[in-house]
Subunit: 159 residues, 2 copies
């Protein structure tokens, strides 16, 4: 999995549809307007979301996109996976065992592996419904030890 703003935009757009809660499809210009994302860019994202089976498209005059499943059955991790496709250029993509002739090279392999599992676990636990109903807070402790102020967190480029 990969975390970029693309993934965040996709989740935002999906949340927008979910929040509408209607049976009638939501058009991209509507979403673009409400969420401040360019319509052209949304097209790209929704093409992938459709291919991943997360949304159904309705063409024609009153068309748009609709969630393919109830919001409670769509996990955030699926959305992120759908738009941020994996490219396997990893230096050490083997099992955590020997990993590139052992040595010091992959001392940290297990660490990032484990972090990845943490993130996947979290994102696969939260559903779209949880997000729009604001049932997300409180899963992790409020402050990490050390007493520093908790800032925003940014993956890829910027948040």
């Amino acid at each position: 999995m990969k975390l970029t703003t693309k993934g965040r935009y996709a989740v935002q757009a999906m949340a927008d549809i979910a929040a509408a809660r209607g049976a009638e499809p939501v058009s991209l210009p509507e979403i673009a307007d409400r969420q401040g994302i360019s319509a052209g860019y949304l097209e790209q994202l929704f093409a992938k979301l459709r291919r991943a089976g997360l949304v159904d498209s309705v063409r024609g005059v009153a068309g748009g996109y609709r969630l393919a499943r109830p919001a409670g059955a769509i996990r955030i991790g699926e959305i992120v996976d759908a738009v941020d496709e994996e490219i396997h250029t990893t230096a050490c993509h083997g099992a955590a065992a020997g990993c590139q002739g052992a040595g010091a090279r992959c001392l940290t392999h297990d660490l990032w592996d484990e972090l990845g599992r943490h993130i996947e676990l979290f994102l696969s636990t939260v559903s779209l419904e949880d997000v729009i109903d604001k049932r997300v807070i409180g899963t992790a402790a409020v402050n990490a030890p050390g007493g520093r102020h908790q800032d925003d967190w940014k993956p890829g480029a910027e948040v």
Copy 2:
């Protein structure tokens, strides 16, 4: 916090020093050689690590860098913070409350906020010593629900 290869390189280099476990400083060319990172690039990273008080430098002929504290007292989160400095260009950096005139804009704010806390919590839990002693595995469940295969995870660019 931000997660890029820079942060991973820094952790890797710190782990290299920690793994040496000697009182005598480790030189950058040594680390560059063992970890496959260019020495010039390491200089940049170590300048920041030094400024953050994570390493002490020893100049002169047999000089190099040394951990400023025992490996058990250096948390991974500190290392990442030291090299991947924060830029606050966030659209909504306010509290999770209203956040940009309420509306649908920040439906997902809490989600990323919470994910950030998860990550910070995890990285602040693990010490450099844990990493070199391979005591990292097992904190998260091995598979997420859903049965998909767990792939690598990549933050910024590539892993």
